[in-house]
Each structure stands twice: as C-alpha cells, then as structure tokens.
C-alpha cells in the first residue's frame, strides 16, 4: 500500500511538464525549449516551473503560461507572435523592460512549445 502510494507520488513529481499535451497547439520541441530557456538565462527575470534556478522577479512568473490569455497583457496569445515577443519584445512594445535577445528562430519556437505545456 505504502509502496504503491510512494510510486504514485514519484510518478507525479517526476513527470516533467514537457511530457504533457500542450493546452494550445504549437510547433517546436518543448525539451529543446527548456534547454534554450536555461542557456538564454530567462530565469534571471522570470520564475519558470521546471527550469533549474529560474526564480527571477524582474518580469512576471510564467507558471501556468499555457493558460495565459494575453502576451504581456498586450497582444493576443499566438505561437508565432509569442516567438517574436520572446526574441524581440521591444519591436512589439517599445516601453517594455524585456530586452531583445539573440537567438535562433528554432529556439524561440521551442520555448513557445515549452511555455504552452505549463498548465
């Protein structure tokens, strides 16, 4: 009984967010997205579930991002638009504190896939 409960608990806690179905369809590889989030240090400004050390408080926390209705409270939620926001936020909102960040188009797409799996 105890063992079953422990196994169930382990299964629940070890299940990475990236394994689940996205709430919204998005092209891209969520596992690669997580690697890109780590590499680009998104966690310095954002709290992001499932990313080691991502506890930033400069920008909004991204937990349950898959349910978020607006991008940065401004733009309708859309994978292509979110990818553009991630790579070059100032081009969409000149007043934002979020900098333009050098990355490949694939990295931006993969990060969208990761964020859309956060529920």
């Amino acid at each position: 009984m105890l063992l079953t409960a422990l196994a169930a608990l382990a299964a629940v806690t070890m299940c990475g967010c990236a394994d689940r179905e996205p709430l919204r369809p998005a092209p891209g590889d969520p596992a690669a997205g997580r690697v890109a989030i780590q590499r680009l240090q998104c966690g310095a400004c954002h709290a992001i579930p499932g990313v080691t050390g991502a506890r930033g408080q400069v920008g909004p926390p991204l937990d349950a991002y898959g349910r978020r209705v607006y991008i940065a409270g401004k733009l309708p939620q859309d994978p292509a638009l979110l990818a553009r926001w991630i790579a070059d936020a100032p081009s969409l909102a000149p007043g934002t504190a979020m900098p333009k960040i050098e990355m490949t188009a694939a990295e931006a797409r993969d990060m969208v896939a990761y964020l859309y799996r956060l529920r």
């Binding site: 310095a44 930033g56 100032p90 979020m98 900098p99």
Partner: protein, 307 residues
C-alpha cells in the same frame, strides 16, 4: 584550447597543478592502502582462532615505526612540492587581486597602465605571472583548482601566488574560505590566451571606454550618469569614478555578471541592474527603482557595448 573540466584539481592545466595532483594521487592511494591493511588486520583478529602474538613488536612496529616512516616520507615529499610551487624569487607583481564581499577586483601592473576589471583575469599561455593577493574586508582564499594551489587573502597582508597555464582555455576559480552570505557566489574566471592576443586584450583594457555609437546607447550612458550608478562604479573616459563597486569600463567583454551569478549579455546585465538583491542577496548593489523599461534596456545595451 583546453578541453574538459574547468574547475577541477583532477584535471590539471599547469605544472604547479600537476605537482599537486601527483601529491594527491600518492595520498589517496597510500591512505587507501593503509585503510585496507588495517581493516584486514582487524577482521583477521576478530575472526581467527585466539593465539599468542608478539604484542610489543606489533605495537612498536605498527604503531610507531610504520607511521613515523610513512609520515616522514610524506613530509619530505610535501615540502619538496611546496618549494617547487613557491616559484621564482619575489619580484614586482604582474597582477593585483583584491578580495571583496563578494567579488574580485583585478588590477594589471605591467604594460597595462590602468587596466582594472573584476572577476576575470587573463594570462598569456606558458608564461608564469606573479599575482599579489590582498583583501578589503574579511579573509578570502584565491583558488583556481586546475592551475594552482589555494592562497589565503588576509587582512593587512599581501600574499603571493604564481599562476601559469599550459594551454589556452577558460579556467574557473572560486573563493575557498567562507567569507559570508554570498561566499558561494564569489567565483571568477582565468582565461589563458596566446601572448599576442593577451597583449592586445590588455591594451584594450587599459584604454578608456568607447563613445556610444548610436542614440540608444547614448541614452543608456545618460541613464548611467543620471542614476546613482556613478556613485559606486567607474567607467574610465566618463565622469563616473565611484570605487565601491567593480570598474565597468569594459564590462561588456566579461564572461560573467555578479562574480558568476549570471553569464554575459545585455539581458543578463538588465536583470542584474533591475534586481541585484534577489539574484545575490546581501551584496552592496541596491535595486534600481526609478528606471523605465526602455531606460533599463538602453543602460544594459550601453554596458554590453563596452568591450
């Protein structure tokens, strides 16, 4: 380019580190052997049939003669290694490193005029440099495991260490003496470059900061001078001449922000400027409360442009 682990004494990148590694292997192997021997004897004693043994011989031999010989041999070996590590006789230091809570100020004395930077040293490959180590506050310890032994930085004293790298590469160092809340985030990098590249780098470090190349960067510099930044930071070539925090004249060319907390780039700089007390609680930098989002980006881009 050196491959492999950048902060491991098991992967030596210099002659000095190789000597320490060799001494280490003798110690691990020797103490392992003695442990196995003693446990084997204890088990034999516990499970074999009782019989008379030469007590005195075992006590004198195993308890006095054997350790005396082993420890004396180790002492001679360790003293020999210590002498080899202390390097050439004292001369003027090439680099001064000052420990602070919790970062490292680095000043080049030779050929560099006023090259001052933080949390990063660059050295020419194959050329031993003498580093003077001191501290502004508490005891720190300067340790680059892949390149040299550790040497303490003690208030009121200047200690010395000779650092040399056999191959070009990036080596990570770490404060090795507990010095307060952010001791763990008191890291630095040693970058070994070919001699030519090193000279060019040092000349750039000694030069004042470049003028902003466009309006956005100019806006960033204005923000830097308008906000309280200049009270603590120096950017040579501008009016900013604070001395409490790191010299930022060429901060855009460094490998890390906050002594290892973040990597490089404008985004990391923006995060650090916006919220240093969350990223590294207790450090001296206050959080920024008055910058607009756009000014924050401009400021970070300006600092990133200072290569």
């Amino acid at each position: 380019m050196k491959q492999g682990r950048i902060q491991s004494m098991l992967d030596p990148g210099s002659a000095a580190a190789a000597l320490i590694h060799e001494l280490g292997i003798w110690l691990y192997a020797g103490s392992g052997l003695v442990l196995v021997l003693v446990v084997a004897l204890a088990l034999y004693g516990a499970f074999s049939a009782p019989r008379k043994v030469a007590e005195k011989a075992w006590i004198v031999g195993g308890g006095i003669v054997f350790p005396a010989i082993v420890l004396a041999a180790l002492l001679v070996y360790a003293i020999h290694v210590g002498h080899a590590l202390s390097g050439p006789p004292a001369r003027a230091a090439d680099i001064e490193v000052v420990g602070k809570r919790w970062w490292w100020e680095v000043r080049y004395a030779t050929g560099g005029g006023h090259a001052v930077l933080a949390n990063e040293l660059r050295i020419p490959v194959g050329k031993p440099l003498e580093i003077a180590l001191s501290t502004d506050d508490v005891i720190h310890s300067f340790w680059v495991p892949a390149l040299a032994g550790k040497v303490d930085m003690i208030p009121g004293r200047t200690n010395r260490i000779v650092v040399e790298a056999r191959e070009p590469g990036i080596y990570r160092g770490q404060c090795a003496e507990f010095c307060g809340a952010q001791h763990a985030w008191m890291a630095f990098y040693v970058v070994a470059l070919p001699e030519e590249e090193f000279r060019a780098w040092l000349a750039r470090q000694a030069a004042p900061a470049a003028e902003p190349a466009d309006a956005f960067l100019l806006r960033g510099r204005d923000a830097f001078l308008r906000e309280a930044c200049a009270a603590c930071h120096t950017i040579r070539g501008t009016a900013a001449a604070g001395t409490l925090g790191p010299d930022l004249t060429h901060v855009g060319g460094r490998l890390s922000i906050g002594a290892g907390v973040l990597g490089s780039g404008a985004a990391a700089l923006a995060a650090w400027i916006a919220d240093p007390q969350h990223l590294k609680p207790g450090n001296l930098m206050p959080e920024t409360k008055t910058l607009t989002g756009e000014d924050l980006r401009a400021l970070a881009s300006y600092l990133e442009s200072l290569k």
